[in-house]
Every structure is written in structure tokens, then in C-alpha cells.
Amino acid sequence: MFTKKTFISILLVPFALILTIACSELNDDSGLVSDPGLFKLGEFTDNGLTVIAYSESPLSVGYNEIYLEAHENSVRFDQPHFLFHTMMHMEHHSHTSPFGEPGHIRDKDLDLYKAWAIFTMPGGMAGNWELQITVHDRDHSGFESKGTIEIEVDDSNRVKNFMTEDEERFVLTLIGPSDPEIGLNDLFVGLHKRESMMKYAPVLNADMDFEPWMPSMDHGSSNNVSPVHEENGFYKGQVNFNMTGDWELRFEIESGGEVLGHHTFKLNF
């Protein structure tokens, strides 16, 4: 019953498996792009280079991480240099929003180039958002691929656009917690100043007083930590949620001895 043919077949099975796995790894090393399993925002092809933008979920007003990939005929473009910014085209004017360009190093987890953008308003009747992306090679050989990807941005309550008495305009963004839990949560906010329609600068020296509050319960929680600046206009603190429900995250923001404003984000979980 146990023939020579069967014996050879049994030997061949693990051999075939090893060969398959090895070839798979060989493909990765060859630079072929693969589907990262993210939400695809769009792509363009220019000068033979295809640029694809992804995000973890559909974009919404507030802080969003955007991942970029560039390839030629499904083969990764070696060492790209991205120029990235956001643009909102309205009826009479256009403007950008706070954003961060991708670095030169691929994101460790997703193996893509990570940028970020804070969308200050939703897309729709008032205008449409697009990502304007330019790719050079890092050797400065003169290669350039340029294009735009039109994107949809849903509304949310995570951004406060406000103007001080001095008519300075700021953007306060609630970044985290994105998935709040009972207990202490890391609190991330961004504060950026609009210097022009095409430029937002990080605010590096703001003092923030922070208090979470449940209006329907008429109480807050203890041991919260007001956010302090970390880098590039991003501030980190801690918020204690002692129950689920409707919370208000109340901020008082000062800079240079001047109160920039009092702002409240509503958060339900």
C-alpha cells in the first residue's frame, strides 16, 4: 500500500511549501507593490510614475494620516522625495490647511510613506479638497511626477477654527483619544496658526488648561493632565473618563500671556 510513489509525494510536499514561501519573499524583495489593505483615496500617473494615496479610513475634518506609494509598472520607485500639500478650492479663493510632508523613510508598520493633514472644513457645497503631490527622485536627476488627487472629507467636530481679538486665526484640533476608553487616555491636540491662505505654522508656546466635563451629570473627573507642547504644534496630556457617555473636553488656551480662546469639543463614547 505504501508505495514508492507515495513516499516521493510525501517528500515533495514540504519541499514545494518551502519553495513557495521562498518565492514569495523573493517577490517582496523585487520591489513589487502590494495592496496595503488601506482605504484608497486615489491615484494619478504622470511621467510614467503612478502615485497612490491611502488612509486608514475615509477622511474627515480633523487630523488624518495619509500614506503614499509611488511605482513604475508595479515596481516601487526607489527613494522618492514627495512634496505634499492640501488644497481647498472654493468659489472665489483657494486655501490650504495644516499638513506635514512625508519623510524619506517608509513607515515601519505599513511600509508606505506617511504624511498628515488637518482638514479644517468638510468638502462639499463650499468647495472640494485635493491633495497636490509632486515626486522627485532623491538623486536630483531632474525627474518629476506631479498630480492631484481629489478627495472627499466628511464633517466632524474635532476642529475649532477661531480668530482672536487681534484677528489672528488659529486651528485647534482634537487628535486623540480617537478610541476613548474608561480610565486615563492620552490626549493629543494640535494648535496651528494661519499665517496666510497657503501657510499654517505650528504654535509652539501655548499654555493649555484642560478639563473634561459631563454636562448631563454635572461633574468632571480627577487627575487629568493639561496638554503640553511636544513638537510641531502638537500637544500631549491625559484625560480621565470615569464612565461612558457624553463628555465635553474644555480647553482654555493662552499664548504669550494672552488668552486665545475657550473651546470645547464634544465627545460621545
Partner: protein, 745 residues
């Protein structure tokens, strides 16, 4: 069968008593008092000569000596839980034979509920103690030093010497039970009916022997009823009615006992409407409905070994709490235990008793029947709450006597697991529901080893000492609760501490004369915080209107107590009484400290000082008339806050006159309380209360040999009153005409 029993009893008596033979010499009578069933010597039994002032109590080996003046005398021997025994003697008879008095335990079907309080050892239940349809707290209402927190006309919570909750150990037949309602609406008294019990054993302060408890307030043990061997088939049915709240009660019991096996099954059902207060006003939504089932199986597989399996199932429907913000919607309790009693394992060890138990409680409450838009606390939202607990434990206790020494050793291990949560549903549908975990599936495991010793000297001294070592561990099982406490107490490295405490005690008692004894007791103990003090979160305390947060970092609470007492006579002498004065200094006192608005956090808060007294005096009058008076007072001061401790009972007491006979018995009682103006104002929302005096009348008659009618009127003058320990000034009941009819066979 019966003669065999007698032979066995005689044999046991001989084996037990050995050389302890009774003898009469000259003008004195000596003898021994033993249990007729087990042959065990009964220490503390009262022996006196009828129509004389001559009496005594038996020593630790059941011995007694009386000096007789006449050749003929009638000895009366009584002991709690046993049938009273009369013995006619002549000097000649006694000179020729030793005197062994055998007392028969009272049979279940005819027993009364006895309430004892330490050395007073007296039945305070009055003539209605045989009424099984009355709530258990009604039988505890006249013990000096014992008060009750009243949340509604149901399940009052024992307070001993001004202490309550975790500072009073309330047990059912030695088994711990953990209430499931975090707002205190289901104290242990919610889950027992009078039908379940044979006695209520109250220990005020830290009694050293044999009910030693590290709870600084003391303990209440609801000792379960148990069937009797060789009792045949017995049963009873009782129905009762209270006019003050339209309460209907039905109770039935059936028991059967043969030589080695006895069983008892019973049930109680209560259904009450709104309570009428003293001024005739109706307290709406104060009704209740509940049922209770009880089973006890007693089995003696071999001589000296008994197994007792017992179960209480208690099932409550809606119970109204009109002065609180919620009502109980449903509460279920399952309480089960298996006890093994080994009698006379050796000549020096009297008994070894082990008890394995488990109980589970679930409690649902909500405010769906309230108009939440009109209240001040938690306005505009409904708050259904759920709680469940499971408590399991094992105790093993040994009692031994070596010469003039009595020894008691006890090992206990138990675990409590508790969970509670709360949903907050805003009336405004646009506002999202909120959810909170009040007890994040927390558990506490405790183990203790304790021992106590009593030494009877030849010159009338009784010297006692006791020691206990206890270890407690804690654990939070739900991760959201861990996150909550990490957020609330970031400075704590260990949210689940293990703590070890000890307790020691010493007492000395001196018989000054045949009837007068005096003594002193000193104890020093440490208490582990309970699961609510440590892990309760957002717990509404209706006693002071604050929301409490537990504190995993709580330290142990120390209680140092001293007590001086005097007793006179016993319950068979013409006059008898006792009085105690005591002081209790509590260091690292655990209390809620105000955090913000209506929130408190448990902290160890300096020193609290409590002191007070209890006294009672009884007299036996001619014609089977008895009378008595009792009073108690507690003074409590929180030194740290420099204000009175909250919820301290005022000076209060009672007077009674009763006459018992085989045909008709009668009792009238006056309950009174002084005003309480010493209230905690800084750290609580306490209100002063006024004085009151209430007159009660009870009567009992046997219509036939098997039918008994009990009737009475409480608060005869229909006085409106508020007890100081009544939560949110819930008034007491107005005039209550009640009656019960009981048929026994």
C-alpha cells in the same frame, strides 16, 4: 426506640460526666445539668429554688451548688433554647443519689425565637417571639446598644454601639453574606425571615468568648432553625395581617424527624402596600412583596457526628424606598451551607464544628416609577442598577475544656466576589446614555486563625484572653475598573494589596457575691477595609447624600476598646440587670472625605472616639407578671473633623410589663428616644431629630391546643415620629393593629 434513646442519653451522660457526679451534703444541693440529647454539660444554666431568693448558675462543667434551708424544695432549671425543668426533691432523696438534670431542647414546632446579647443572655423577643410571620428586625428592637438603620419599612440594618456596615459582622448561621446593592438597600436582614431562625445572637463590641469578632461594632448572627430527631411529623401554618401597611403574611412549615434523620421545609410570603405614618399620611410607594423558602436536613450517620444541610432561597419583587431615589425591582438570594458537627471527639474536646457554605445574591433596582424630572439628585435621568455578589467560605471551630480552662479555636477562610454597574438614561433622547461600573468584578479572599481561652479560678475569677490573625487579599477582575483606579490613584503602585492584621483581647470577671458579677474587657484590633471601601465607585450613600469613591490604598483601621460591666442576678431571680460602660477609640478611622460637590473618597481620617453605656433592669413580680427597663446611649466624635460622628443614635430605651400564662399572655411596651442634636454638619448632610415615645400592646392566647392567636397594637397613640437612623427622615409607622393566627400539629 424511645428506651434505646434514653439508654444512649444515659450512656453519654455517664461518659461525659465521668467523675462529675452530683452529691448532696448537709444543707447544700449539688448536681450537674446536661443536654438530654447529647449529654453535653451545660455551662451557664440557671438553677434556683422556687419561691426563694436562692439561685445560681452552672459552672463550665455544668456543676451547681445550692444551699437549701428546707427539707423539701422545688428546683427550677432553665437554659436558653431548652425546656424549663422543675425538679421536686427531699433531702433524703438527694443524700442518697447524685443529681443529674437533663434539659430537653425546645422542639422546632413549638419554639420561640430567642434574642441574646452577650452576657445579658436574655430573651427580648417578648411574647410574640413565636410569631413566624413578623420580620426579623421586629424581634431585635429592644436590645440596648443595638439600633437599626431604616431605609424603608423593610430590611433594617443593624447598628451596634454607633457602628454599622463593614464595622458590624452580620452573619447567617455563621456564614458571611455580602449584600449586592451598592446603595445598601439589601442588608443581610433582607434575606432572612423569622421562620428561618431559632435565635439571634448579638455581640456588642468585641466579645471575647465565644462570639469573638474583629468587627469593632460587634456581630449579629442569625442562627438557623434546625429540625429535631425523633420528633415525628410536625407542621404549622400561620397567617398574619398588619393594618398599618395592609401587609399580608403567610407562613407554613413541615418537619419530620426520626432517629437519625430530620428534615424541615418551610416558606414565607409577604405582600404589603403603602405604609401609613403616625399623622395618618400615606407614604406612597413604600410597599413590598417577597417570598422565602427554607430547607434544613439534619442527618446523624454515626453517633456524635451530625450533618446539617440548609438552604434559604429569598426572592423579592418590587420593594419601595420612598425616601431614596430608587426602588428595588427584584432581589434573589440563594444561601446554602453544609455543617458537620462532631461532638465529644475526645475527653477534653467538647466539639468540632465545620461549616462549608456558598451564597449568591443578585439585586436590581431602578427609578422607572419615579418622576426623575422633579428630583434634585441625578435629575432628568433614569438609573437602573444591577449588583451581584458571591460569598463562599469554610469555618472550622473547636471547643475544649481542660480542667478549669475553656479553649476555643477557629479557622476561617472566605472569599467575596462582587460586581455592580449602573446605566444612566437621560430623559432627553438626544443625550447619549451613560454607563458606569460601580464594582469592577472585585474579589477579596480572607483567612483567619483565632483562639480564645477562659480560666475559672477557685476564688470566683474568670480570666479570658483571645487573639486573631487575619490575612486579606484583593483583586480587580474587570480591566475597565483597573483603568479607573489607575486614573483615580496614579500614585498607587499596588491596586490589589495584601494586608495582615491582628486582634487581641483580655477580660477579667469577678463574682463579688452569689448574684453580683463585675468585670472589665480590653481589646485591640485592626480591621481590613471591605470591598466597598476599597473598590466601590460612584456609590450613592443615602445616609448622607454623597457619592463615594473607594480607595484601594486604604490602610487598616484600628479599634481599641475598654468595657466595664456589672451584672446582678439572672433571669430567674426576682431582680436582675446588667450595665456596661464602654469606650472605643478608632485610629485610622475610615470615612468619606469630601472631594468636590457631592463626592467623597474613603480615606483613613485620624481618630474617632465613641463611648456610651447600656443598661437593663428586670423584675419578676407576683402573679407571673414581669417588668423591665432598658436604655443605651452612644457619644461619637470625630477628632480630625472636630464634629460629631454622623448617624449616632440618641439616648433611647424601653419599658415593658408583661404577664405570661398558658391561657392568655399580655405585654405592653414603651419605646422612647431622646432628641439627637449632635449631628455631623461639615462632612455630612445629617439633620437633627426630635424625641418620641411609643406605646405598644401585645397579646397571645391559645384558642385550642393547636391554634394560637396573637394580636397587638403598635404605636397605640398614632404618634408621628422619625428615628434618628432613619434615612432621609423616613417616618416610622403609625398605629398598627396586627394579628396572626397559627395552627400547629
Amino acid at each position: 426506640m424511645f428506651s434505646k434513646k434514653i439508654k444512649l442519653i444515659t450512656l453519654f451522660s455517664l461518659l461525659l460526666c465521668g467523675s462529675l457526679q452530683a452529691a448532696h451534703t448537709g444543707g447544700s444541693i449539688t448536681g450537674i445539668v446536661v443536654d438530654a440529647v447529647t449529654g453535653k454539660a451545660l455551662s451557664g444554666a440557671h438553677v434556683y429554688i422556687l419561691n426563694s431568693d436562692i439561685g445560681t448558675v452552672t459552672d463550665r462543667e455544668g456543676h451547681f451548688t445550692l444551699r437549701a434551708e428546707n427539707h423539701h424544695a422545688v428546683l427550677v432549671i432553665s437554659y436558653m433554647g431548652y425546656e424549663e425543668h422543675f425538679h421536686h426533691h427531699s433531702m433524703g432523696e438527694m443524700e442518697n443519689s447524685g443529681l443529674t438534670i437533663e434539659l430537653n431542647p425546645k422542639l422546632m414546632q413549638s419554639d420561640n425565637l430567642y434574642v441574646s446579647a452577650g452576657r445579658m443572655n436574655m430573651a427580648y423577643s417578648g411574647i410574640y417571639s413565636g410569631a413566624k410571620t413578623r420580620p426579623v428586625e421586629d424581634h431585635m428592637s429592644s436590645i440596648p446598644g443595638l439600633d437599626m438603620v431604616t431605609r424603608t419599612h423593610f430590611a433594617k440594618d443593624p447598628v451596634i454601639r454607633g457602628l454599622r456596615d463593614a464595622r458590624v459582622n452580620v452573619m447567617i448561621d455563621g456564614m458571611r453574606l455580602t449584600p449586592a446593592c451598592v446603595d445598601g438597600m439589601d442588608p443581610v436582614t433582607a434575606y432572612v425571615e423569622t421562620d428561618n431562625l431559632k435565635s439571634i445572637e448579638i455581640s456588642r463590641g468585641q466579645e471575647s468568648y465565644p462570639l469573638f469578632s474583629t468587627a469593632p461594632g460587634g456581630s449579629v448572627n442569625f442562627a438557623m432553625a434546625r429540625p429535631s430527631f425523633d420528633s415525628g411529623l410536625n407542621g404549622s401554618a400561620e397567617t398574619g395581617y398588619h393594618f398599618v401597611n395592609n401587609q399580608q403574611m403567610v407562613q407554613g412549615a413541615l418537619s419530620y424527624g426520626r432517629e437519625e434523620l430530620a428534615v424541615r421545609f418551610s416558606g414565607t410570603y409577604r405582600n404589603a402596600g403603602d405604609l401609613m405614618a403616625g399623622n395618618g399620611s400615606r407614604i406612597t410607594d413604600s410597599g413590598l412583596e417577597k417570598g422565602n423558602l427554607f430547607a434544613s436536613i439534619l442527618y446523624q450517620p454515626v453517633d456524635d457526628h451530625q450533618l446539617n444541610l440548609r438552604y434559604i432561597g429569598d426572592f423579592a419583587g418590587k420593594i419601595g424606598y420612598p425616601k431614596l431615589i430608587m426602588d428595588t425591582r427584584r432581589a434573589d438570594a440563594h444561601i446554602a451551607g453544609l455543617e458537620h458537627a462532631w461532638k465529644n471527639p475526645s475527653s477534653r474536646i467538647n466539639n468540632v464544628t465545620s461549616n462549608l457554605y456558598v451564597n449568591r445574591v443578585e439585586h436590581w433596582m431602578d427609578d422607572y416609577s419615579r418622576d426623575v424630572t422633579q428630583r434634585e439628585v441625578m435629575k432628568d435621568m433614569n438609573m437602573p442598577m444591577y449588583g451581584k455578589t458571591m460569598t463562599a467560605g469554610l469555618t472550622s471551630e473547636l471547643n475544649a475544656s481542660i480542667g478549669s480552662h475553656l479553649l476555643n479555636a477557629k479557622f476561617e477562610i472566605y472569599a467575596v466576589r462582587a460586581y455592580a454597574d449602573m446605566l444612566m438614561e437621560p430623559v432627553n433622547a438626544d443625550v447619549r446614555d451613560m454607563y458606569l461600573v460601580n464594582l469592577g468584578d472585585v474579589s477579596q479572599r480572607n483567612a483567619s486563625l483565632s483562639g480564645s481561652h477562659r480560666y475559672y479560678t477557685d476564688n470566683g475569677w474568670v480570666i479570658g484572653s483571645n487573639v486573631q490573625l487575619e490575612i486579606g487579599t484583593n483583586r480587580i477582575h474587570e480591566q475597565s475598573a483597573v483603568a479607573t483606579y489607575r486614573a483615580e490613584y496614579p500614585e498607587l503602585n499596588d491596586l490589589e494589596p495584601t494586608q495582615i492584621v491582628y486582634s487581641i483581647g483580655f477580660d477579667a470577671e469577678k463574682r463579688l457575691s452569689e448574684r453580683v458579677r463585675t468585670g472589665v474587657r480590653l481589646t485591640d484590633s485592626y480591621r481590613l477595609p471591605d470591598h466597598m471601601e476599597r473598590y466601590g465607585y460612584y456609590i450613592y450613600q443615602p445616609l448622607d447624600g454623597f457619592f463615594y469613591h473607594g480607595n484601594p490604598g486604604l490602610g487598616t483601621e484600628r479599634s481599641s476598646q475598654a468595657e466595664l460591666f456589672v451584672t446582678y442576678g439572672n433571669d430567674r431571680t426576682r431582680w436582675n440587670g446588667s450595665s456596661s460602660i464602654w469606650v472605643n477609640r478608632m485610629d485610622n478611622y475610615i470615612a468619606g472625605i469630601r472631594d468636590e460637590n457631592l463626592f467623597k473618597r474613603f480615606e483613613n481620617m485620624g481618630v474617632a472616639l465613641l463611648t456610651g453605656f447600656e443598661m437593663n433592669l428586670n423584675v419578676r413580680m407576683a402573679g407571673r407578671w414581669d417588668g423591665g427597663a432598658a436604655a443605651s446611649y452612644v457619644f461619637g466624635q470625630h477628632n480630625e473633623l472636630d464634629e460629631p460622628l454622623p448617624m449616632i443614635p440618641p439616648l433611647k430605651g424601653s419599658l415593658f410589663v408583661q404577664r405570661e400564662s398558658d391561657i392568655i399572655s399580655f405585654e405592653t411596651r414603651l419605646r422612647w428616644a431622646a432628641p439627637q442634636n449632635r449631628i455631623a454638619e461639615q462632612n455630612s448632610l445629617e439633620s437633627p431629630t426630635g424625641s418620641y415615645a411609643l406605646l405598644d400592646i401585645y397579646g397571645k392566647t391559645s384558642l385550642t391546643g393547636s391554634i394560637t392567636l396573637q394580636a397587638g397594637v403598635e404605636n397605640v397613640l398614632n404618634i408621628y415620629y422619625v428615628d434618628h437612623l432613619s434615612v432621609n427622615s423616613m417616618p416610622g409607622g403609625g398605629r398598627n393593629v396586627h394579628l396572626s393566627l397559627k395552627y400547629s400539629f
